[in-house]
């Protein structure tokens, strides 16, 4: 079971390692995570969604300091989770690192870094991806 879960996480590595989203070739809307169909153009966009690498810069829309984690995140507790609005338009959820809760505010400018995300207890598989730090 855990081996298959590993495959499931590996499948998304391109987006998680490089913040790769996509862009609708019809209306230009940028999506993260990448979507198979544009939410505005629907079927018109099929086959016209283009890969789009995001700059990884944006600002904090809201955040929380998590004290009760899910399994795999125990050693990181407490950790900051933030909703970040990327400069290209889409918002995403990520951890904030290299800062304390006093350094994060709604509106704080941030940029992405590549870090360990968590590990799966049973298999010991470690997952990597993006986190954010204040500018």
């Amino acid at each position: 079971m855990s081996g298959l879960a590993g495959v499931r996480f590996w499948r998304e590595t391109k987006s998680r390692y490089n913040l790769t989203g996509n862009r609708c070739g019809v209306c230009g809307t940028v999506f993260f995570p990448p979507r198979p169909v544009c939410t505005r153009c629907h079927r018109e966009s099929i086959g016209r969604m283009e890969e789009h690498k995001l700059k990884g810069t944006g600002e904090v829309l809201t955040w929380t300091f998590v004290h009760e984690p899910r399994p795999g995140f125990e050693i990181q507790v407490p950790y900051i989770l933030a909703m970040v609005r990327l400069d290209e338009g889409p918002a995403l959820l990520a951890q904030m690192v290299d800062c304390g809760p006093g350094e994060v505010r709604i509106g704080t400018r941030v940029h992405s870094v590549f870090r360990k995300i968590g590990e799966e207890g049973k298999s010991g598989v470690i997952y990597y991806g993006y986190k954010f730090v204040p500018d």
Binding site: R8, F9, P33, W63, E68
Partner: protein, 388 residues
């Protein structure tokens, strides 16, 4: 579509019921509902069960078939189905049971909700409730269900000046209500200071801002209006059963301070019922966290967006207020066995509309509303019930 009535109710206590299995709980609630309706099991045309996560919580799927079997109904080859819409599974099951009777396919059905959560340690339950979020893009990065609501709370505070004390007022009110409900998990009042000082879950939310982990089951019997006239039990009409959806992930939403799914489901429900908000006498809303209730009364349109905190502090939603909310104690104090919650809300409506809510009775209750949310707002149901 024909009129559909709730003619019987049954509910188990909610809480840590280590001596009872999921099947025991489901059967107990279902049998009580059948007895209350004054029918026999041979009158039942179908069974609908709302359940979110038994596949992970107790390694059991196929809950509808399981409960029908151990209720002794398998010999009748009764049709059963289990319906999942995260922690709105109960309302989802009710919606589809309602449609089956309204359409004329069935005349009399049982719809239950059940969940057995306490067989697993708390962190695993936290992981399982987070499966209602986007697993690949939210939970993977450390999100829990309560952390999503915590982020909404912070944004709500930022945009509208909602205070930590106003959030605490929701918990204080619902615990006071729960103390009067014999089926509630927590039957003791809490002080505002206790809410503010409780262990942190996800800042700004603490343990007493969040619904507990619970076991429990609830069931109702639905009949066509024609059939109901010959029965001795409750005669409460389902005036509206409405649903709306939204993006699964919170980050893709238009707003971080409310649920569009709730607003749209409410508009659809009012239209179906042919009623206005002013006619609603009381409501059970999805207070999975304290901020959830504040956002719910805004999204349902009982107060304007941003006014939920001050309205709660003013006593508007307390017993005797303009719109009593969560007289049962809500998810917070009655308990929140995921799939059972949507049906437990309906049972509180039926009791109030029949004048059988005892110490927590809303005077002259004629129209009640139930609001059940899945996960962090990708699914919302609004049901309106009225005295027939």
């Amino acid at each position: 579509m024909r009129d559909v009535m709730v003619v019987g109710t049954g509910i188990t206590p909610f809480g840590e019921l280590w001596e009872h299995s999921l099947r025991d709980l489901g059967i107990r609630a279902g049998m009580e509902a059948i007895r209350d309706a004054g029918i026999t099991s041979s009158d039942i045309d179908a069974l609908f069960v709302g359940n979110m996560a038994a596949g992970r919580l107790i390694d059991q799927t196929h809950i509808g078939a399981l409960i029908a079997d151990f209720a002794g109904l398998a010999g009748r080859n009764l049709p059963t189905v289990t319906i999942e819409g995260a922690d709105a599974s109960g309302a989802a099951a009710l919606h589809h049971a309602y449609l089956s009777v309204a359409s004329g396919l069935h005349d009399c059905v049982v719809v239950g909700g059940a969940e057995k959560m306490t067989d697993l340690p708390d962190p695993e339950v936290t992981e399982i409730t987070a499966t209602a979020l986007d697993q690949q893009w939210e939970s993977f990065f450390g999100a829990t269900l309560f952390s999503m609501y915590a982020m909404m709370a912070r944004r709500h505070m930022h945009e509208f000046g909602t205070t930590r004390e106003q959030l605490a007022r929701v918990a204080v009110k619902n615990h006071r209500n729960g103390a009067l409900n014999p089926a509630a998990q927590f039957r003791r009042p809490v002080r505002p200071e206790s809410v503010l000082e409780a262990a942190e879950v996800a800042d700004p939310l603490g343990m007493l801002d969040c619904a507990p982990i619970s076991d429990g089951a609830a069931a109702v019997v639905l009949c066509s209006a024609e059939r109901a006239r010959r029965l001795p039990g409750p005669q409460v009409r389902i005036a509206a059963s409405a649903q709306a959806g939204d993006t699964l992930s919170l980050s893709s939403r238009r707003s971080l301070v409310g649920f569009d799914a709730t607003s749209v489901a409410m508009e659809r429900a009012l239209k179906l019922a042919g009623r206005s908000r002013k006619e609603v006498d009381f409501a059970e809303v999805h207070d999975v966290t304290t901020i959830s209730e504040i956002m719910a009364i805004e999204d349902l349109g009982f107060v304007k967006k941003g006014a939920g905190g001050p309205a709660t502090a003013s006593g508007m939603t307390a017993p005797g207020g303009e719109l009593p909310v969560n007289t049962s104690g809500g998810l917070k104090a009655r308990g929140h066995p995921l799939g059972a919650t949507g049906i437990a809300q309906i049972i509180e409506l039926v009791l109030q509309l029949q004048g059988k809510a005892e110490e927590r009775q809303v005077p002259e209750a004629r129209v009640g509303l139930a609001h059940n949310v899945g996960g962090c707002g990708a699914t919302a149901f609004v049901h309106i019930l009225e005295v027939a």
